[in-house]
Amino acid sequence: MITRILPWFPRLLLLAFLTPVLVGLAGTWLPAFGWFPALGQRSLSLAPWIDLLNYPGAGSALRLSLLTGIGSAVLALGATLLILMAFYPSPGFRRLEKLLAPVLSVPHAAFAIGIGFLVAPSGWLVRWLAVLTGWPEYPPNWMTFRDPHGFSLILVLALKEIPFLLFMALASLPALKVDKTLWLGASLGYRPGKVWLTLIWPVLYDRLRLPFYAVVAFSLSVVDIALIAGPTAPPTLAVMATRLFNDPDLLLRLPGAAAATTLLLVTVLTLAVLFSFERPLRLLCRHLLANGKRPRLALGLRFWASLVLVPGTLFYLTSLLVLTLWSFAGQWRFPDLWPSPLSARAWSSAPDRLLDPLWLTLSTGLSAALIALILVIGALENEVRLRQLKPGFTAQRLLWVLYLPLLVPQIAFLFGFQVSLAWLQLGGQWWVLVWSHLVFVLPYTFLTLSGPYRAFDERYVWVGLSLSGHRLKTFWRIKLGQLWRPIGYTLATGFAVSVAQYLPTLFMGGGRFATITTEAVSLASGSNRRTMAVYALVQQLLPLIGFALALSLAAWRYRHHRALQQGQT
C-alpha cells in the first residue's frame, strides 16, 4: 500500500507550492491589465500601467529597488568569495561554521531593527563617537538609517545574505577538495588567489547559482526589511506595491498589481542579464587559467576579508546587545552608552499583547514545518523507490522547480493568490495562512533534508526488512531512528522560515492575522523603541529555541550512541 501512496507525495508537494505561485501570478496579471471584476473593472487595458507610471515616485522606486537589490546581492556574493578565498579551509573557518546556524536563524526583520538601533543618528555607534570624542552633543541630523539612497538597506541585506551564501557554499565545498587543489596549484607555482579564481570558483559558482539568484530575487523584492531599513519617500518598488495593495482607495490595487508585475519582470531581466555575464566571465577565467602567469603579488586577502568579517560579526553581536539593552531601558538619554535606570516594564507589559501573536506564530510555524517535513520525506522516499526501479535516477533537474517560490518575488503572486482565495470564499482562514507559509517552508525543508536523507545507506533498510518483516517498523525504527538529527534540524529550519514570513501573513489575513513578525514590522515604523526591541528579541528567540531544542533532543536521543554523536557523522 505504501508503494502505491508514495508517488503521490512529490505531486502533492509540487501542488502545494506551485498552485499558490501560478494561481497567484495569474491573479496579479489580470488586475495589472485592468481586469478586476470585484471592483467592477471588466475590460483589459494598459491603464493600470499608465497609472503606475504617473504615480509619484514610481521611477525612483524602481531605481532604488535595482540599486539596493543588485548592489546588496553582488556585495554579498563578492564578500562570500573573499571570505572563502582568505580563510577556507582553516581551523578558524571551522569555528566560523559553527556560528552560521544561529546567525542564519536571525529573522530579517529583527536583524534590521537591531542594525537600526546601531547606526541611526541616535544609535549606539554615534553614542560611542560622542562619548569618545565629545562630539556630537545631540543626535546629528544625518540620514544614516532609512537614508534616501538605500545604503542602510544595502548594508542590512548584504549582511543578512553573506551567511546564507556561505552556508550554501559550505554544502558544496567538501566535494571540491579545495585543500588538495590549492596544494596542487602551489606545487605548480600558483598563489591561492589565482587557484581560487581559475579552478575552484567556476565549479563552486555552478552550485551557488540558484542560491545566488534567490538572493538577487529576494533583495529586489523584499518588503519587511525595506519597510524597516529602506528609504521612505519614495520607498522601494516592493514597498510601494504593498502600500498600493493596502490603500483605502481600492482602485489603487490595479497599479499595485502593475508594480508587482514590474518587479517580476525586473527580477527575470536581472537574472537573465546576470546569466548572460556568466559566459564571458567563464571565458576570462579560462584565459587566466591558460596564460601561465604566476603573479607574485600578494593580494592581502586575509586583510580585506577581515574588513568584512570582523565588522559583520560585530554588527550581529552588538545589534543583539543593543536590542536587549533597549528592551530593558528605563531612560536612555543621548549620548549615554547604557540606559539608566534599567526597567523590566517593556517585558512585564508584553505578555498581554504578545500572547495572541505568539500563539499564532507557534501554531502556524509548527504546522507548516511539520506538513512540509511529511511531504518532503514522502517525496524523498519516492526517490528511493524510483532509484530502486531505475538505478542512477536523480531528481536534480527538479531543483529549478523547487527554487521557483524563492526566485519569483513574493509580492508578484501573493496578492493574486489572496484575490483568488477571496473569490473562492476561502480568505482569512488559518489553514490558508499555513498554506501560504508552506510555499516558502517547503523549498527550505527539501534543501535541508535532501542531502542527509539521500546519503542514508539503504542497505540498513534491506537488513531491517529481512530481519523484521515489517516495512513501517523498519522505516520508523531503523531509517527515521537514525535520521533524528537532520530531521530535527530540518523542522527547526522550517519553523524559522515560517516565523520570518511577513508578506504571506499580511496578505492572507487581510490584516486579521498578527504574528510576532507582522507586529515587529509595524512597530518598527513607530517610536516606541522598548516595545520594538521586545518584539524583535522574541522574534529572534523563537527560531533559536527551535534549533536549540532540535539539537539537544538529538544529542539526548543519541547520548549512548557514539557513532551518532555530534562531530562523528
Partner: protein, 212 residues
C-alpha cells in the same frame, strides 16, 4: 528446508549476465559463488533477497522449500543477509539490535533469554547494553551474524562477509559462521573473491561472464 535455483538467467538490456544457473542446497549446506568482477555475483544475491531492480530481466525460478520466491516481497522472504559491512544499527545498543530481529510472537522474558543465550554462545555474555560503536571489528561481525540468525531465516546470503576482517580474525570468524549455519540447518549462499573462504563441503558456483 532446501533451496533451489532453477535455470536462473538474469539479463540487462537483453544481454545475459551469466549462463543459466541451476543450484540445489540442502539444509545446512553452504554454496560458494565466485567469479570475476561484473559477472553478476551481487546481482544474483539481489535477485534472491528481493532487491533486484526491475531493469534486469529474470527468467527461471528461485525456490525455497519448493515455494517460488520471485513474487514474494523482501520483508516476507525470510532471507537473512550478511554484508561485508556489519550494518549494525548505530542508534540501537546490542540488545536493541538483536531484539529487532526476534519474531514478534515471543514474550519479553523469552526475548531476554534468547538474546542472553545467543550472546553467551558467541562469547559476548553481558554485552547487552553496549553501544555498538564501542565494539571491536570481530565483536561487531559476530553480533551481526547473531542478529541475522535470531530472525529465524529460511536461507542466509553472505555477501563477502569476511573481506573487511584481518587474516587472523577472518579464519576464526569464518569457521564460527559456518558451524552456526550448519548447526541450525539453514542453507546458505556465499559470494566471495577469496578461494580460502570456501567451506570444505558444499557446491562451488563459478559465474562466468556470458558472451551470448
Amino acid at each position: 528446508m532446501a533451496f533451489n535455483i532453477d535455470h536462473l538467467s538474469l539479463k540487462l538490456n537483453h544481454k545475459p549476465l551469466f549462463q543459466p544457473l541451476t543450484v540445489r542446497l540442502e539444509p545446512g549446506e553452504i554454496g560458494t559463488v565466485m567469479g570475476p568482477s561484473g559477472s553478476g555475483k551481487s546481482t544474483l544475491l539481489a535477485a534472491i533477497s528481493g532487491t533486484l531492480p526491475p531493469i534486469f530481466d529474470l527468467s527461471g525460478d528461485i525456490l525455497l522449500n519448493g515455494q517460488s520466491l520471485l513474487t514474494v516481497p523482501i520483508e516476507q522472504r525470510q532471507v537473512g543477509i550478511l554484508f561485508q559491512d556489519d550494518l549494525l544499527f548505530p542508534h540501537l545498543n546490542v540488545y536493541q539490535n538483536l531484539v529487532f530481529a526476534l519474531p514478534g510472537r515471543l514474550t519479553r522474558p523469552q526475548q531476554r533469554e534468547r538474546i542472553a543465550s545467543a550472546l553467551g554462545s558467541a562469547g559476548l555474555a553481558s554485552f547487552e547494553q553496549r553501544d555498538v560503536a564501542t565494539l571491536s571489528g570481530g565483536q561487531r561481525a559476530r553480533i551481526s551474524l547473531l542478529r541475522t540468525l535470531l530472525a529465524e531465516p529460511r536461507l542466509v546470503l553472505l555477501d563477502e562477509p569476511f573481506s573487511k576482517l584481518d587474516q587472523h580474525l577472518r579464519n576464526q570468524f569464518r569457521d564460527w559462521v559456518f558451524s552456526r549455519i550448519t548447526d541450525m540447518g539453514i542453507p546458505a549462499l556465499m559470494v566471495t573473491h577469496d578461494p580460502a573462504d570456501r567451506p570444505s563441503q558444499g557446491p562451488l558456483i563459478e559465474l562466468e561472464t556470458s558472451h551470448a
